[in-house]
Symmetry: C2
Subunit: 670 residues, 2 copies
């Protein structure tokens, strides 16, 4: 069985990579931009739509507010880009928000940021894949029936690719981003040109009306709706900090190049987001949170999906749903969204590995798998994101409610951390120019902290009941879990660190050989035990059936075995208790005596054959682990059927040759 | 966790029993009869009904054939009782059909009988419990909604009682049988008296008519229907061999007493079965396989159940459904049926244990549990019977189709075996009287063999498509499984039996201590390894992270540890392969060298804490079992949190005092 799972693993994951293949190629800006910015740029595909969806709750009348909401989002984008330009220059090591918060605000803040980021990476996968599938369905409506399978399928593909060790820095990943950006910019230019030429694009839904969910909004309620729309629009900011985690991959001067790439990303985001929003207004796109509120919607509003805003604009601008450019835009939009999910497949396991190294997460997340990817982290991420997509029916809008809290938690704490950073730097500043630079940075980050903090509060207030509460629960839980894990590791470490340089030798070694019947494994165990020259050597057997015990004693004499056979009575037909009692008796009063228990075992060929053999030895071994001063040695006897059934890696791996050790021969002990 | 499951087990199962409590009290005939005959006597509750149900397929017109079918069943009963009288006298050891077939017809026949009996025991539980519930529902119709839960509930109760070690020979079990027999006999007498007095009992269904499923039956088809009715009537014979398994429990002369009890059982069965059948005719009970075929049935024929035949007769004789005697009869009928199921809870595990001792079934079935019951067998029986009841909706009629094949397979093979037995005996016979006795026995058993064989064929032909095919598949499968298990045990035994009296000592012992970090468990493992005075002692570590390995080497020097630390390179970041390679290198060419691998481990307090620690050592240990000449010793270090968390039996068991060993103190190695 082990061998067959191994084959499956090889087929899926491929041949293992050597550790020394790990190494980073440095990226020029023109490659770094598309690679790190696929996540933030991809969010323009859904940000406008999310604003309109919320405004639709008040009916068509509120759509005119959309540009204002979008303008607020753009301002926020400028602030965040400016703030993170400071971060990448001050912390070029790639630790990002986690590092800034940990170093400036302490452990706890760092862990909160870490929890927020972990949640965020998960949501990036879920939302991006769901939005990608949305855009595919907008192009090919027949696929709507396979929404969930398509979502899960993409996650499986991403998982497999990443387990196989696809690198974030792959140049091939740069192309789709540029293709997408080019497509969107072309659409904006063409759309604006058409408008100026007097033949403004008209969306397929332009004639539809919307049945408001809430009528006669005014005062505070209206403000609340607008704020909610703004919160949804903030999805345009997700992924903005991806570049801050990628600084080490930039060419020198790393910080400056990263800052410039940050600016380029910000400008592109703003242009595309604004352009799409304005085109949505011009072409009079209508969408509604509840499809059945759309008066004029053709098709079954219970089952058929609305087309995404970007698909409607593309269809309007590029002339109907049949043009090549329409399919090009939808294709690249889906592609960049899947790529955005892929960045989380790089980010999550890396962050988890750093947290595991700092002992805040289970150690297994720290180790790299066969293909140098952090396999456990990748699998964990895929599993959680898959469950979320399944639970939320693959609905982008519903998933997005969970998305923004984490983003702004880490934004805010990062900016506060930066303010502290500048305060400290100010003390060490020498020149006037330096002081001025630091003060400017401090102002930017302080403003960023206030602004993002405010947005965080708005997001919390407006989205709490719409799903954000799950994140509000998840982040503190993650925080507590990480603290508990750390405490556990620390306790174990403290307890295990050696206090004196050398350990005392045990005074006497008592060897006990567990005997059930007199067969070859027993004889081998006796021989092995004698080879260790113990101070005392006793064979022990448990008397459960008088006749069997008498027969064993008879054989013992017949074979003339020198080792004394001690019969332990077991009136309740159990193995563990009499052995424990005897061990305590043997060790007696001397705590420095140790007892070596030899358990003869035989290894069967097929796993199901284990069912046919008693597992009492297993239970005994498990129990003896709790006994101080007791060591358990398994003496296996390999039945013929078991030979060649052990787990084996495929032969002829490059490592074998270089090792200089002769390949394993058929060596039998006899 | 271990401790809490232990507590649950104690609550359910009770305190363990000492082995020496096992011992049989000998039974006088007046107790042996009810104890062993509850199974055969209980079958009269459903035998008449099953005949009528089949005849109903042809419509009311064929009900007049019921007495003839019943007469054939009575003849069969006489034959079987006479045959088994011979068996109990010839084989008083209690092995029953399995012993007779094994000894006279060889292994294979014995195993077929064993398979048939195992199936039979399972069906006894399923059918008896289902029929018991039927009779309860006939008395209290409101319980019909809870048919399946009631069935499962009774099985759970029986399982628990038997796991607690309820003994078949409990005197309390004799009472219900007598109460039931008294009730049925009273009903027959009263019913006949009423008939003679001119006011014959009239069943509630007397006025109903039956819509025939098959109309215009004649010729072969009619014969087939009658034969099918006869097959169903043969359920009256189930359990007839229970006494032959209980002979050792009889007082001396065991054989003769058992034979007399057999006769008493036969007479009672015949009287009750005939009486019930005649009363059913007199009172004109109408039942149909499909309730909706009953014209006149009040209630919803899709959901409401028909009353059992015995319930209808009792109601007719004892005056309506409200009389105390009606409830008395239904109550005792249900009780004796549950008791009949209980006999299978004794028989199945005992047979499984005998088969396990002969190595035809997994060894675990051989051992007695805490309360001296064969726990694993009891649980297996309950599980399979429960599944059958669930799958067949607790329908007695549908379950009964699976019942009779097994019974007659074992009857037939047993009788053939007896003929062989007599043939052999005839050769050893001295006196004329003895020869005559043997010849008489031979005639009886030969006749029995022919008759039961014929019935087996009839049953197979008429019931095959109605469910019996399942048994026709199950018995050969069981047979093949038992052969395969035996072959496996035999192979292992042959391969493991020692060929020379003493085993050679290993020439050299190499000790390897697996080191990941330098902490107390490592130091202890080093000390323990040194205490065994090996020929060579090396500490090995796997280099996965260069920095960590360098730190380990630094500490190694700092602490001045004398043992050399060997670093194994692992370019693919795995543990097992480099260790295996090194072990092969160390053992070199000498097959008599052994390698002792010491694995330092620490034992955490709570089970979930294991998640936080790498399991690589576990995988390595599992893999090393396949390596010849390698022994793995776990050196556990008990973390403080693990103390007192080991599985513990409740204190103050009688065994502790008698042992003469001081109770375990707090002994720490330091």
């Amino acid at each position: 069985m082990a061998a067959s799972t191994s084959i499956v693993k090889r087929l899926l994951v491929g041949r293992p990579f050597r550790s020394d293949r790990l190494g980073r190629e440095l990226l020029p800006k023109r490659l770094a931009l598309p690679i790190f910015a696929s996540d933030p740029l991809s969010s323009v595909t859904y940000a406008t739509q999310e604003i309109l969806l919320i405004l639709s709750l008040g009916g068509l009348a509120f759509f005119h507010l959309a540009p204002w909401v979008a303008a607020a989002v753009v301002v926020l984008l400028v602030v965040v880009v400016l703030s993170y330009r400071q971060v990448v220059q001050a912390y070029p090591s790639g630790g990002g928000s986690y590092e800034v918060a940990s170093k400036n605000l302490g452990r706890s803040a760092g862990l909160v940021v870490a929890g927020a980021l972990l949640v965020d990476y998960i949501m990036t996968v879920a939302v991006s894949v769901a939005a990608g599938v949305d855009n595919i369905i907008s192009a090919i409506p027949a696929l709507n029936a396979y929404r969930i399978p398509l979502n899960i399928g993409f996650i499986v593909v991403l998982t497999t690719l990443n387990l196989r060790g696809v690198r974030e820095s792959g140049r091939a990943f740069a192309i789709p981003t540029y293709l997408f950006v080019a497509g969107v910019l072309l659409m904006i230019v063409v759309g604006f040109a058409q408008t100026l030429a007097g033949s403004a694009p008209v969306a397929e839904s332009a004639g539809w009306s919307i049945q408001p969910e809430e009528v006669g909004l005014s005062g505070l309620v209206l403000v609340f709706l607008v704020l909610r729309a703004f919160s949804s629009g903030c999805t345009a900011l997700t992924g903005a900090e991806a570049i801050s985690n990628g600084v080490p991959a930039f060419r020198k001067p790393k910080g400056l190049n990263a800052a410039r790439t940050m600016t380029a990303m910000g400008v592109l985001s703003i242009v595309m987001f604004s352009g799409i929003t304005v085109l949505a207004m011009i072409s009079q796109v209508r969408v509604a949170e509840n499809t059945c509120d759309l008066i004029g919607f053709t098709g079954n509003c219970q089952t058929d999906p609305q087309r995404t805003v970007i698909a409607q604009i593309a269809a309007a601008v590029f002339g109907g749903g049949n043009s090549v450019l329409f399919y090009y835009l939808q294709g690249t939009a889906a592609l960049i969204l899947i790529l955005a999910a892929n960045t989380a497949f790089n980010g999550f396991p890396l962050l988890a590995s750093i947290l595991a190294q700092d002992r805040y997460l289970p150690r297994q997340l720290h180790t790299r798998g066969d293909r140098l990817a952090f396999s456990n982290g990748i699998i964990a991420l895929a599993a959680i994101a898959g469950v979320l997509i399944y639970v939320f029916d693959g609905s982008t809008t519903r998933l997005i409610q969970l998305y923004i809290v984490g983003v702004f938690t880490s934004f805010t704490l990062c900016q506060i951390g930066m303010v502290r950073h500048w305060n400290r730097e100010l003390g060490n500043a020498d020149s006037r120019a330096q002081r001025r630079r630091i003060q400017r940075g401090r102002i930017i980050n302080a403003f960023g902290a206030c602004f993002t903090g405010l947005v965080l509060i708005v997001v919390l207030l407006t989205k709490f009941t719409h799903g954000a509460y799950l994140v509000v629960i998840a982040i503190p839980l993650l925080y507590l879990l990480m603290r508990a894990i750390h405490r556990h590791y620390q306790q174990v470490h403290d307890e295990l660190s050696p206090d004196e340089p050398s350990s005392l030798l045990p005074s006497r070694v008592h060897a006990l050989v567990l005997v059930s019947t007199l067969h070859k494994p027993t004889l081998r165990a006796l021989a092995f035990a004698r080879a260790t020259r113990p101070d005392s050597l006793t064979a022990i057997t448990i008397n459960i059936d008088d006749a069997e015990t008498r027969e064993l004693q008879r054989q013992w004499d017949e074979y003339g075995i020198k080792v004394p056979l001690k019969v332990l009575e077991s009136p309740y037909r159990e193995i563990t208790r009499p052995v424990l009692r005897y061990i305590k008796h043997v060790r007696g009063e001397n705590p420095r005596d140790i007892v070596f228990v030899y358990v003869p075992e035989y290894v069967v060929g097929r796993w199901w054959e284990n069912v046919l053999h008693n597992q009492s030895a297993l239970r005994l071994k498990a129990r003896l682990r709790f006994e101080p001063g007791v060591m358990v040695a398994s003496v296996p006897w390999q039945l013929r059927a078991s030979r060649g059934r052990e787990l084996r890696r495929p032969r002829n791996l490059p490592g074998d040759v270089r090792r200089g050790i002769s390949p394993p021969g058929q060596q039998e002990p006899r």
